[in-house]
Amino acid sequence: MAEETRPSKKPEKRIRIDTAGGALLLLLGLYVTWERRVLPLGTAQNPGPGYFPLLLAILLIIFGVILILRGKVSRPFNPIPWSEASHAIPILACCVFVALFMERIGYRISLFLVLGFLLGIIERVNVWVALALTLFLSMGSFWLFDTLLRVPLPRGWWGF
């Protein structure tokens, strides 16, 4: 019991959200400043294509520094709970999968795989329910958008 109530000797050193956010903006500003070097800057009187991006990068650096300096007053950065991360990572992976393969294997097959993965494996929905829903959604949405609304969706190598 005594151990539970004993105050911690070390001050809490958790990263603050504004410090993290400010650092992110600062890095982005520096990156844009570096990348902009290939674009002609022009002059203040006759700005070139690199002028506005540099101006914005400088603003971003200034805001980043202000946020870092004022970071102490913001709340600590909460670690992302596993329940959220265990969903967020596969969902993002599904987006990447679709972006990589949808034009190669077609809309219907890629959506069938993605929906099947999300419903059957991530959400552990009953296999028959997952299969029925996956089939209905992937085929039904293709029919609705491609066939009915004439929005062309990719068919893949084998025309399906």
Binding site: I17, D18, A20, G21, L24, L25, L28, V32, E35, L39, P40, T43, A44, Q45, N46, P47, G48, P49, Y51, F52, P53, L56, A57, L59, L60, F63, I66, L67, S74, F77, N78, P81, S83, E84, A85, S86, H87, A88, I91, L92, C94, C95, V96, V98, A99, M102, L111, V114, L115, L118, L119, V125, L133, L137, S138, S141, F145, L149, V151, P152
Partner: protein, 507 residues
């Protein structure tokens, strides 16, 4: 162009065709569903469904998309009242007294007043839009590049102040959006900027993949793993009618909410959200029994619900008259019009009278449809809330992919959506508002072009921005807003923006 019987006849003549009337009805129906379902806001809803309008006439397309927009404002109240979860952000304040009324068995009257208030506010604000947009457009015909630059600069500062939360964070998100908007070919010199040899990036980032990523995908990433069934209170149809006293108590809040909402709607920022907060605060202040607020006061439902509908119409004024969107949703609507080859701006009403007056007439019809749709069908919409989110989010993700891909039939847009989804998720974790990014992306080419064109006009003399009266007026307003935003650094007192952020977190 004056508001005349001829124009109204033109508008109603456009809407009263079977197809356009059906699109108005369909837009309202989809909008209500979008509003009812938590996690699918009007912005993601409109962006996802934008490709379905490509085959339509421009008038039909804008009627459908605008229907989704104001329909979502009606639908959002249902979830707030019955579940204490705002269906969309503008219904946060309705959670407080709406849910308290529902707990007392008065869910029906709360829903009815929300629908009636929304109808009255929606209809009156369309009258405002009808009378205000044409003269504003005429006035804006005198705007040159310096005026547009100062107007946009002023708009950005007002937006960062009015969005709530930290002004520095909001400004940085606008700058981030502007930076993303710099990607692609430079209009004046023809240089490719930050495109790394990619043809798709050379065209610039589209507003749809950015909006769907930031609002659709990031919302899914943040909420998919959150478990927990929440109780849905089911209203009985026979209990829908409010009592005479409740109706009497709602008249003032609806009137005040309408005027307030419409005026706030014109200002850049999250107008539809802010208007509900201001309306709630005013109703509480003018009430003879402020202690009733929070325990189920009908005024706490009537005012904010009227205000958010009026604000959503008010936000269309600058978009249609000036071609300048004041929030992310009008920005996507603007993009939708541009897809159809129409560029809103001062000449829009004059050159496209069928589209403008057709939209106005469709909004009169749409508000009536929504009133008739919401009350009897509320039990049906409630059933959507019973669909577990684990079934819902894969479906939403599918719509995100289709919506984004179909705009340009480009996989690059799906990549952009995924990257924006991840970025939005990270930014949310750091309490950044993502709405200003969308606006920045849309307005980046306009503000840069105006700036460089103004300097070209003046042979590089910056005095052009302060020599022209309209431009200098906008710059003075910008300065005032900047000084106002510095106030919290000097005065350590919670202002309305802190309270708005707290209220949003509470719900």
């Amino acid at each position: 162009m004056e508001v005349s019987i001829h124009n109204l006849i033109l508008g109603f003549g456009t809407v009263f065709t079977i197809s356009n009337f059906s699109y108005a009805f369909l837009g309202c129906l989809i909008g209500t569903m979008v509003g009812v379902l938590p996690g699918v806001g009007p912005l993601a809803g409109i962006s996802m469904l934008l490709p379905t309008t490509f085959g339509l006439e421009p008038t039909s397309a804008i009627i459908l998309l605008a229907g989704i927009y104001y329909g979502a404002m009606y639908g959002g109240s249902t979830t707030s009242i019955l579940m204490r979860i705002p269906g969309e952000a503008a219904s946060v304040m309705t959670c407080i007294d709406g849910y308290a009324m529902a707990r007392k068995g008065r869910a029906g009257p709360a829903l009815a007043i929300a629908a009636i208030g929304s109808y009255v506010a929606g209809t009156i604000s369309v009258v405002g839009l009808m009378f205000l947009a044409p003269p504003l457009a005429r006035f804006a015909l005198g705007f040159g590049p310096p005026e547009y630059f100062s107007l946009l600069l002023c708009g950005f500062v007002v937006l960062s102040y009015m969005t709530g939360g930290s002004v520095i964070k909001n400004l940085s998100m606008i700058v981030l959006g502007l930076m993303l908007g710099m990607i692609g070919i430079d209009q004046m010199s023809g240089y490719f900027r930050f495109s790394y040899g990619s043809v798709a990036l050379g065209d610039g980032l589209g507003v749809v993949p950015v909006a769907v990523g930031l609002f659709g995908v990031s919302e899914i990433l943040a909420t998919a793993g959150v478990s927990g069934k929440r109780e849905v209170l089911k209203p009985r149809l026979k209990d829908l009618l409010p009592s005479r006293e409740e109706l009497k108590d709602s008249v003032g809040p609806v009137g005040r909410g309408t005027v307030l909402g419409f005026l706030i709607g014109i200002i850049p920022g999250s107008a539809h959200i802010i208007s509900t907060f201001v309306s709630y605060a005013i109703e509480r202040r003018v009430s003879k029994h402020p202690d009733r607020f929070g325990t189920g006061a009908i005024e706490g439902v009537a005012g904010p619900e009227s205000a958010n509908n009026a604000a959503s119409t008010g936000a269309l004024v600058p978009m249609l008259a000036l071609g300048v969107p004041t929030g992310p949703i009008p920005a996507v609507l603007l993009a939708a019009l541009m897809v159809h080859g129409i560029t809103p701006g001062p000449l829009f009403i004059k050159e496209q009278p069928v589209v403008f007056w057709g939209l106005i007439a469709s909004m009169y019809i749409g508000n009536l449809v929504l009133l008739l749709l919401n009350l009897p069908m509320v039990s049906l919409f409630v059933n959507f809330l019973r669909i577990p989110y684990r079934f819902l989010y894969p479906t939403i993700l599918m719509f995100c992919v289709v919506g984004v891909y179909a705009v340009n039939s480009s996989m690059s847009d799906v990549w952009i959506m995924a990257v924006m989804g991840a970025l939005g998720y990270v930014l949310r974790k750091m309490d950044f508002e993502t709405a200003p990014i969308v606006l920045g992306v849309v307005l980046a080419p306009i503000i840069e072009f105006s700036f460089r064109q103004a300097l070209a006009m003046s042979n590089g003399v910056y005095a052009i921005f302060v020599e022209r009266p309209i431009s200098v007026a906008f710059l003075i307003l910008t300065l005032i807003m900047l000084l106002l935003s510095l106030k919290p650094l000097i005065v350590k007192k919670r202002d309305w923006r802190n309270r708005l952020t707290e209220a949003e977190k509470e719900c």
